[in-house]
């Protein structure tokens, strides 16, 4: 197993109280596999990823409980110095907004080359040659001429390619992509997703794709974890979840998006709003918005029930997953 997150909890201590952003998340990724983490804003999908990368702001963030095993080693037990050797070299992250993630006063060549200078101790000249090579690999035309240019001189899609190049620089085994295409237009989004999938195959990397877009997930993921209020509410291979969701939240999400290939009637709308993390409802966090909620849902937190076992396990955190799956 490349990466295994076990019972991870993250909380933020704020003036208004403790915000429980992640409440016991378990997931795993193997080499060459794509796990999509799906959720709305505030569901804890990005915070989980930041904890895995070790880039969470602490304080105010705090990890009271949990393990993050990278090839069997618990990253949370490492010293910051050792952690830094893992970050970038063994696992890398691609952020949503390439323009604000790149340094505007350094040329892209310097930013790409920095990786090699810091981690590999290369000379400036060699690092620059490596930068050109990387830009070629993510198919930026005229890489040799453009290596000295600054981020603002690139288009949105090209900037995201530079982010991908930067993540790939040290040939990591795991890539975490946090909404990598959300800021891009659809035609460019397709180019970037294609490139990412191709590079993943080439290097046999594990990929964690964080997104709110059910369409993107269906296109690239092997398995999917749906998050709500800091917990995984459903976990399944991608084909099965779209065919028959086993959690009312997943079902609601799938029903509430309009389809390109058919003109529907009125859209199904999940009522209410996502919960406030300072005051997560007791019992199942989804119960105030759930059409199937009963008394037990308001008192007992549902465990992650096993829906099917092999080959890929499927699980749902709903007391009535059977009814949901078959209804």
């Amino acid at each position: 197993m490349l990466l295994e997150v076990r019972d991870l909890h993250v909380e933020f201590h704020t003036r208004d109280g403790v915000a429980k952003a992640v409440n016991g998340v378990n997931y795993s990724v193997e080499a060459g596999e794509t796990l999509a983490v799906l959720g709305e804003s505030g569901s804890g999908k990005s915070v989980t990823a930041q904890a895995v990368m070790g880039i969470l702001d602490m304080p105010p963030g705090k990890i009271p409980k949990g393990e993050i095993l990278f090839k069997g080693q618990d990253l949370l037990k490492l010293k910051e110095e050792e952690r830094r050797k893992v970050r970038g070299a063994k696992m890398a992250m691609i952020f949503q907004d390439a323009l604000s993630s790149l340094n505007p006063v350094l040329s892209v060549g310097e930013q790409l080359g920095e990786m090699f200078i810091v981690h590999k101790g290369m000379s400036k000249k060699d690092a620059r040659a490596k930068a050109v090579e990387l830009m070629d690999r993510v198919r930026i035309p005229a890489a040799r001429e453009r290596v000295g240019q600054y981020p603002h001189q690139f288009s949105g899609g090209m900037r995201q390619r530079i982010m991908i190049a930067m993540a790939l620089a040290l040939e990591p085994e795991l890539i975490i992509a946090d909404e990598p295409t959300t800021a891009l237009d659809v035609t460019v989004q397709a180019q970037v997703m294609d490139l990412l999938a191709e590079l993943q195959r080439e290097y046999n990397m594990g990929l964690i794709l964080i997104t709110h877009d059910l369409g993107v997930v269906a296109d690239v993921a092997d398995k999917i974890a749906v998050m709500y209020a800091g917990r995984i509410v459903e976990q399944a291979p991608v084909h099965e979840i779209y065919k028959a969701p086993a959690h009312p939240y997943t079902r609601g999400l799938l029903d509430s998006i309009p389809r390109l290939d058919q003109k529907g009637q009125e859209l199904y709308a999940i009522k209410g709003l996502p919960p406030n993390l300072l005051a997560i409802p007791p019992g199942c966090a989804f119960n105030p918005r759930c059409p199937m909620a009963q008394d037990v849902c308001r008192t007992d937190v549902p465990p992650l029930y096993e829906v099917t076992e092999s080959p890929v396990p499927r699980a749902s955190a709903c007391h009535f997953w059977k009814e949901c799956l078959h209804g």
Binding site: E40, S41, S155, G156, G157, M158, D185, V186, T187, V188, Q189, A190, Q191, M193, D194, H212, D213, L214, G215, V216, V217, A218, D219, A221, V238, H239, Y242, G252, L253, L254, S256, I257, P258, R259, L260, D261, K263, G264, Q265, E266, L267, Y268, A269, I270, K271, L273, P274
Partner: protein
């Protein structure tokens, strides 16, 4: 096929799609907006122009929704501003009930704006954080006092809050006390306040979470039926546009590439750009990923300051030939489909228009 069209008719009837169109409520003719590019500080010299909108024409009918889609920078938001006369058009006309809005100013413009309102994209920045909801919505009555007499305004605002599904008791709250979806409802209530005939929606749901988007879309459809509104719905999400629109226009680099009913555009697109755009949309169905016809365009959208000669899409088009670089295609029903009883016979600005279904799995 016969079965399908019968089915569509039933759907159309159920959705109350206007079949008989009558007179258009808004007529847009050859609308242009060029932003000057200048050089020099003291003596500004115009060195060129960004042709954000470069000759757009369409009609909007009573009670219908016209969707406008396109990538960022294609000029769709500039069109919205031109229709409100928030930006002065460089050339072209926008007729509302026979009056050319682009030529109006002062009192006459104010009177027209009462009937054309706007809902903005970002509900976080389009509401003044220092004003209560009551003041935000009520301000419209200060500008147009003829709509509601002074003593009646508070009740009117509460009524509007109720119409958009917010608790009327929230009238004294401030925008930060609401979630994104609720804020967008406030924006819609403000748009409705003057009983307009047309509402221009510029990306009204793209800043919202998936589960909240559906709520707002449903609300907008309900209000359209209730008040017989016409919408111009600008968005980059093609699935949402299909859901809400009766007709759809596809924009590329300041021009309309193709326009038609939602079925014509989505099921029978004839312009290569529309086909590429549709095929790039990820469909939430993993079984479709293997056998969908995907067209991946190369390169980026060219700069509107220096658009390609001839057809603007030719630099990214796989069908481009010499003719495309010399002759600008006009937006019209392509010759080969003219007079034929097919859904491919709709306006498309391509020399080599050809039907291709890219939305359904093969």
């Amino acid at each position: 096929m016969a079965d399908l069209s019968k089915n569509d008719e039933a759907v159309a009837a159920a959705l109350d799609v206007p079949v008989q169109r009558g007179e258009p409520i808004l007529q847009v003719r050859n609308l242009q907006k060029h932003f000057p590019l200048t050089q020099g500080i003291l003596f500004k010299k115009q060195v060129g122009a960004v042709k954000a909108v470069d000759g757009v024409s369409f009609d909007l009918y009573q009670g219908e929704t016209l969707g406008i889609v396109g990538e960022s920078g294609c000029g769709k938001s500039t069109v919205a501003k031109l229709l409100m006369n928030l930006e002065r058009a460089t050339a072209g006309e926008v007729f509302y009930k026979g009056q050319d809005i682009t030529k109006l100013s002062g009192r006459a413009l104010k009177a027209v704006r009462r009937n054309i309102q706007m809902v903005f994209q970002d509900p976080y920045t389009s509401l003044n954080p220092r004003m209560t909801v009551g003041d935000i919505i009520g301000e419209t009555f200060d500008i147009h006092p003829e709509v509601a007499p002074k003593g009646d305004r508070r009740r009117k605002v509460q009524e509007l809050l109720d119409v958009v599904g917010l608790n009327p008791e929230y009238i004294n709250r401030y925008p930060h006390q609401f979630s994104g979806g609720q804020r967008q409802r406030i924006g819609i209530a403000r748009g409705l306040a003057l009983n307009p005939e047309i509402i221009i929606c510029d990306e009204p749901v793209s800043a919202l979470d998936v589960s909240v988007q559906a709520q707002v879309i449903n609300l907008m459809e309900k209000l359209q039926d209730e008040f017989n509104l016409s919408y111009i719905f600008i968005a980059h999400d093609l699935s949402i546009v299909r859901h809400i629109s009766d007709r759809v226009g596809v924009m590329y680099l300041g021009k309309l590439a193709e326009i038609g009913t939602d079925e014509e555009i989505y099921e029978h697109p004839t312009h290569p750009y529309t086909q590429a755009l549709l095929s790039a949309v990820p469909v939430p169905d993993p079984t479709a990923r293997a056998n969908r016809d995907r067209i991946i365009l190369t390169g980026d959208v060219p700069s509107p300051a220096n658009p390609p000669s001839g057809c603007r899409f030719r630099t990214r088009c796989w069908k481009a030939q010499d003719k495309c670089s010399t002759e600008q295609p006009v937006l019209a029903i392509p010759e080969r489909f003219r007079g034929q009883d097919t859904l491919a016979a709709h306006e498309s600005a391509c020399h080599f228009a050809e039907e291709r279904d890219v939305v359904h799995a093969g």
